[in-house]
């Protein structure tokens, strides 16, 4: 296991370097954004040149990439945003908590709802409850998330006026007792989290159901029954343990998918998080911020792949890494 992790770690680094290099190359594809500005604002030539120099557009892409990487590795300097000249890392670290708050909510609530629902549905296969749940999971999978978010906003925020539209803390938030502060946060989190969680629940519970059904038909379940074990032991000990193995794989896919989701969630609810930063960076061609974000995404993706392997080995004794 140890040597496996070291090997995976090395692959991780190599992949990260390759991917960030590719990302940098792609981001540089549209060429120098200052040329256009030069034409529009000829009287600002000096300043434009200064900015161009500052953002590394004077070098070819590979030189720029290595300069960028050198700065990141040695000084932890991720560059500065072209838009507001704030250091990228400062921006990222100030916006990360908000995104993590929402997406962790989505992930935790999603798992807590989906796994029991999947088991329930599988145990009562072909019953009315199963059909209803399956139907709802179809809806959850295929409803466009942004649309669902807008509908939530419209219904709870505009029509019922019981939940805030967008991220809207009370004005005296900081002076409130802690319980009210928590409630204020929760109040604001409800809509974004429920928007994200619907797809997660639908997807995961479907996987869970399929996986459960597959395992429930296995011979060892019959063996367990023939031992005289109660139905609950058979399901929750023998079947569930096996059914969770493929779910671990899905986890690796879910975490990056949540990141994708955060772009839309934060855009709709006007939440100042990573997704919104990414979106703003993309629409205004803010290369340093995009670079920082995408590097983070690549690292997260690769990490969840390693995590998946490790989890696999933990839950499935058949898999050993040597």
């Amino acid at each position: 296991m140890g040597s496996f992790l070291i090997r995976r770690g090395i692959t991780f680094l190599i992949m990260l370097i390759l991917i960030t290099g590719l990302v940098y190359f792609v981001l540089r594809l549209p060429g120098d954004p200052f040329t256009q500005l030069e034409v529009l604002q000829p009287h600002l030539k000096d300043e434009i040149n200064r900015m161009r120099e500052w953002s590394g557009f004077n070098d070819p892409w590979y030189v720029g990439y290595f300069k960028w990487m050198k700065k990141v590795v040695f000084d932890w300097d991720w560059g500065k945003s072209i838009n507001d000249k704030q250091p990228v890392w400062t921006k990222i670290s100030s916006k990360m908590p908000m995104t993590i708050k929402i997406q962790a909510g989505v992930l935790i609530i999603g798992i807590l709802c989906a796994v029991p629902l999947g088991i329930f549905s599988a145990r009562r296969q072909y019953s009315t409850a199963d059909y209803i749940l399956t139907f709802f999971s179809y809806i959850g999978v295929s409803i466009p998330r942004f649309w669902f978010g807008l509908l939530l906003l419209l219904f709870f925020g505009v029509m019922l006026k019981i939940l805030p539209i967008g991220w809207n803390l009370w004005e005296n938030h900081d002076s409130l007792p802690w319980i009210m502060r928590v409630w204020d946060q929760v109040r604001n989190l409800i809509l974004p989290v429920s928007m994200g969680v619907i797809g997660t629940i639908a997807n995961l519970s479907r996987y869970m159901r399929t996986s459960m059904l597959e395992e429930i038909r296995r011979d060892f379940v019959r063996t367990a029954r023939s031992k005289g074990l109660s139905e609950n032991t058979v399901i929750y000990k023998h079947t569930l343990r096996n059914a969770l193995i493929p779910i671990v794989t899905i986890m690796a896919f879910i975490i990056p998918a949540l990141i994708s989701g955060s772009v839309i969630t934060e855009q709709i609810f006007n939440i100042d998080g990573m997704g919104k930063m990414m979106f703003t960076a993309v629409t205004s061609s803010d290369i340093p911020v995009m670079m920082g974000n995408l590097t983070l995404l690549a690292a997260l993706t690769l990490m969840s792949l390693v995590l998946q392997d490790v989890m696999y080995a933990l839950v499935d004794p058949r898999i050993t890494y040597s």
């Binding site: 992949m15 990302v23 792609v26 981001l27 594809l29 549209p30 500005l37 600002l44 300043e47 434009i48 900015m51 072209i82 838009n83 507001d84 704030q86 139907f135 179809y138 999978v141 295929s142 466009p144 998330r145 942004f146 649309w147 807008l150 906003l153 419209l154 925020g157 505009v158 805030p164 539209i165 967008g166 809207n168 159901r209 059904l213 038909r217 690796a252 896919f253 990056p256 998918a257 990141i259 994708s260 772009v263 839309i264 855009q267 709709i268 006007n270 990414m278 979106f279 703003t280 993309v282 629409t283 205004s284 061609s285 995009m290 974000n293 995404l297 690549a298 993706t301 969840s304 792949l305």
Partner: protein, 455 residues
């Protein structure tokens, strides 16, 4: 006797009572069998019906133009009023010169013609629509989402006269509340070339401010109307009738989804077949690629690519981008099947009678892989539509001016969604129905094509 034997051969009984599945193939052909099994799947039939409806609906787009009398880009002049303000557009200001300032509102261009510094407002012309003579003027003001009157000031980073950020002892930039007027003027003076995106709101035209007058009635021209006999599904922000635009949007959305699915299906079969059949290094490499592609967060990647690739916001480029990242799922299916089947006896025996690799791959193995691939392609259409509409919703899909996809219609509608939700609701409903129909059909196809694999 001969007939008898034929009957018997087609009937197999599996002994295992836990998999009491009786594989019965009756006297009709394979396609009929598939169809009859498909038909038994109620949801799949519902899906098929919805899909056919969508197909007819989108194909009939020109018809709606004729029937409603409103071409997709024609703006109605006789429209009722809109109450309240409209929240939420990101604007970045690219030119410090306030007269004739260029503003990007999620990619749309505005022209400031007039700055009212007293009120902190600006009048802008919108040149977003194809007919140039149609220029609307918006009162341009700074509002928070929701409560219109709450925010008359913004938090800004404090800057000195030269435009440099003022910092405190710790080196943190000082943030301060700035009045609206100061904000706009400060911006103008700071001569910052690329300003940050700020949430601004624009007011709908109101009496006295809006100057566009409908010549026939003399009323102020206002663009929004709910479902009414004149406009069955209402009109949208541009004053377009929603119905024909939805139909045209369906054409493009479905076209993109089908093209992508077709391309990714072929590419996936190709790579999956190669990797599954030959194994070894190619297989290991493909598995890694599939793993990576399945894991990367695609939406940010799409966003960046659309922006970066020249002409990225055209349907063709979108098809290309989606295809590059979409084949992994299909490839995994095919690879799995090939990998499993290549060691089966019939494959060995084909090899033994001297069939070439190509022949074995495409004659013997491919038919096994077709069923799962068709299923995954059917599900794929749904997810492509979802991806495409998400991207369009962010304003990064196909250009809503020339190609109104469903997502782009919601993107347009989003700007005034909380007050005038119907264009967005209808477009979203169509996306939802279409995607659900493909998921239903995918499930039905899986059961129909492969009766042994049951969920």
């Amino acid at each position: 006797m001969a007939k008898d034997r034929k009957n018997r051969k087609k009937v197999t009984v599996i002994d295992n009572p836990n998999e009491q599945e009786i594989l019965k193939t009756a006297e009709y052909s394979m396609m009929q069998a598939i169809w009859s099994r498909f038909r038994r799947h109620k949801l799949a039939v519902v899906g098929l019906v919805i899909f056919l409806f969508m197909l007819v609906f989108s194909l009939a787009a020109p018809l709606f133009e004729v029937v409603t009398g409103y071409p997709k880009n024609y703006t109605s002049l006789h429209i009722k009023s809109l109450p309240g303000s409209i929240p939420g557009i990101a604007v970045s200001i690219t030119d410090p010169d306030w007269n004739n300032t260029e503003v990007y509102e999620n990619g749309k261009e505005f022209w400031f013609t007039n700055i009212d510094e007293e009120n902190g407002t600006a009048l802008i012309n919108m040149t977003t629509f194809e007919n140039e003579d149609y220029k609307r003027k918006y009162r341009f003001t700074l509002k928070s989402l929701g409560d219109v009157d709450a925010l008359d000031s913004v938090i800004e980073t404090k800057r000195d006269d030269t435009g440099a950020v003022v910092r405190d002892e710790d080196g943190k930039p000082i943030r301060e509340k700035v009045g609206l007027k100061e904000y706009f003027i400060g911006r103008a003076q700071n001569k910052r070339h690329i300003a940050t995106g700020q949430i601004l709101t624009y007011m709908p035209p109101k009496d006295g401010i809006d100057t566009t007058i409908d010549p026939s009635t003399g009323n102020g021209r206002e663009e929004y109307v709910g479902p009414a006999p004149m406009h069955i599904l209402g009109t949208d922000g541009g004053g377009h009738d929603v119905l024909p635009r939805l139909a045209y949007g369906g054409r493009i959305s479905l076209m993109i989804a089908f093209s992508v699915t077709f391309i990714t299906g072929l590419v996936g079969i190709f790579f999956g077949a190669l990797a599954g059949f030959f194994g070894g290094f190619a297989d290991a490499l493909l598995l890694r690629v599939i793993e990576l592609m399945g894991t990367i967060p695609l939406l940010p990647i799409y966003m960046v690519l659309v922006k970066v690739i020249p002409g990225g916001q055209t349907p063709f480029a979108l098809i290309l981008i989606f295809s590059v990242f979409g084949w992994a799922g299909h490839a995994r299916m095919v690879r799995g099947t090939f990998f499993r089947e290549r060691s089966q006896e019939y494959c060995e025996s084909a090899k033994a009678i001297g069939a070439g690799n190509m022949r074995i791959m495409f004659k013997h193995l491919l038919p096994n892989a077709i069923a799962p691939v068709i299923t995954s392609m059917s599900l794929g259409v749904g997810s492509i539509i979802l991806s495409e509409s998400s991207l369009s919703f962010l304003g990064l899909g196909a250009d809503p001016l020339t190609t109104p996809t469903w997502g782009a219609l919601i993107f347009e509608a989003n700007q005034y969604f909380l007050n005038m939700p119907w264009p967005g609701i209808f477009a979203g409903l169509l996306i939802f129905m279409t995607v659900v129909s493909f998921f239903f059909m995918g499930d039905g196809l899986r059961d129909a094509l492969d009766p042994r694999q049951k969920i």
